[in-house]
Symmetry: C2
Subunit: 210 residues, 2 copies
DNA sequence: TTGACAAGTGACCGAACGGTAACTAAAATT
DNA sequence: AATTTTAGTTACCGTTCGGTCACTTGTCAA
């Protein structure tokens, strides 16, 4: 009954390790204890399985983004994390620190976002669509979010000056960079977690002085 | 006569686009106007072609690193770029800015580093060796280099305080992040180049104030 | 009770894969 | 001049690939 979902799960596991071309239909069917012919009762091709994984990940990504965010009264379009900003009292830098670490720990401990990230990483040059999706999800959206955040922090005087966009890059880029090491070399997990923590602290120390 | 080198060139071009599994021996032989059987006169297997490309890139990488660097008298182990540091008069922040942009422009305009970077990006999870190579080349080495640089900048008083390692991450990570966008979406090249320039300027504005 | 349907199976298909064998012609070596 | 080596060819090998087909079996609605 849940075979279709199991197929998607196993396919994602395989694709994230060996890529689309490196994964055969038997590779997917084998661990599920079914024949590869059975896969074609649920999907018409290997490509369709891949496409469905991407589609589903996009749905889940949007869900998380929507549930995590709330329309901020000022900007109208700006989406702010509920924990990052109290609509009535402003933004807390300490809350932001905590929030980043929570985001990182979830992204690195849960198998699903890990596998999706790996799959997208090794497939990012396969089509324009996948290239754009990768950029949007792991760079543009995150930078946009942080940029709005720093705009607020400057308005409220927590940070005195600086370009919000450049600040967002300096804040976010090291995080994703260390997550990259973490993905490639799980043995360095603790080192990366500490580096991220140090970076976030150091960043706020610096910006408070400016 | 130069067939062996042509094979490596064409293989790198193919591997960087479609990956190891997505590239067939005929794909490599075809554009060179030879039969795939001829490839086996120069390499004993497809894997050996891939390995040789990696090996060669490692040699070239080390060459560039050595030629670009000079042993800094203080640390002994620290390697400093000749343009970044004048052994007798100290480090120039402006020279560093220029140097980063030169490095970026070379990395993004020359086909060879681009293809190697793409190939390594989509192959980074295929083995522990490749994982480590990617981390070393595009993160650890760069961070280490910048860290030494910021140590000097703090010593000489150009920057008043801050952890050199955290500073290096804030400085370098956005650069490689924008290079990632540039690689995936060449149409955004100008946008990325400007973002990197803005980031570098903004970074030095901030650190001078601290 | 029966008949439609969903979800499997194993056998099979043509194509493409990585790789080899036998052969050839030119170039280099002796 | 004779011979070996190099670098290429075509034809072919066994295997694996994505995908199809005919068939079976259990479930469930008419």
């Amino acid at each position: 009954m849940n075979t279709k979902e199991q197929i998607l799960e196993e396919a994602l596991r395989q694709f994230s390790r060996k890529g689309f071309d490196g994964t055969s239909m038997s590779d997917i069917a084998g661990p599920l204890g079914i024949s590869k012919a059975a896969l074609y009762k649920h999907f018409k091709s290997k490509q369709q399985i891949f496409d469905r994984i991407i589609e589903e990940s996009e749905e889940k990504y949007k869900d998380v983004l929507d549930k995590l965010s709330v329309h901020y009264p000022d900007g109208g379009n700006a989406k702010m994390n509920k924990k990052d900003v109290d609509v009535y009292s402003g933004i807390s830098a300490e809350g932001l620190c905590e929030n980043v670490l929570t985001f990182v720990r979830f992204s690195m401990s849960d198998e699903y976002p890990k596998q999706v990230r790996r799959m997208l990483t090794i497939s990012q040059f396969q089509s324009n669509e996948l290239s754009k999706m990768y950029s949007k999800r792991y760079v543009d959206d995150m930078l946009g979010y942080d940029e709005k955040l720093f705009e607020q922090l400057i308005k409220t005087g927590v940070i005195k000056n600086g370009d919000p966009k450049a600040l967002a890059a300096m804040f976010y880029a090291p995080v994703i960079m260390y997550m990259g090491i973490w993905d490639r070399e799980p043995k360095r997990a603790k080192e990366c977690e500490k580096a991220i923590k140090d970076h976030v602290e150091q960043f706020f120390n610096m910006t408070k002085l400016c």
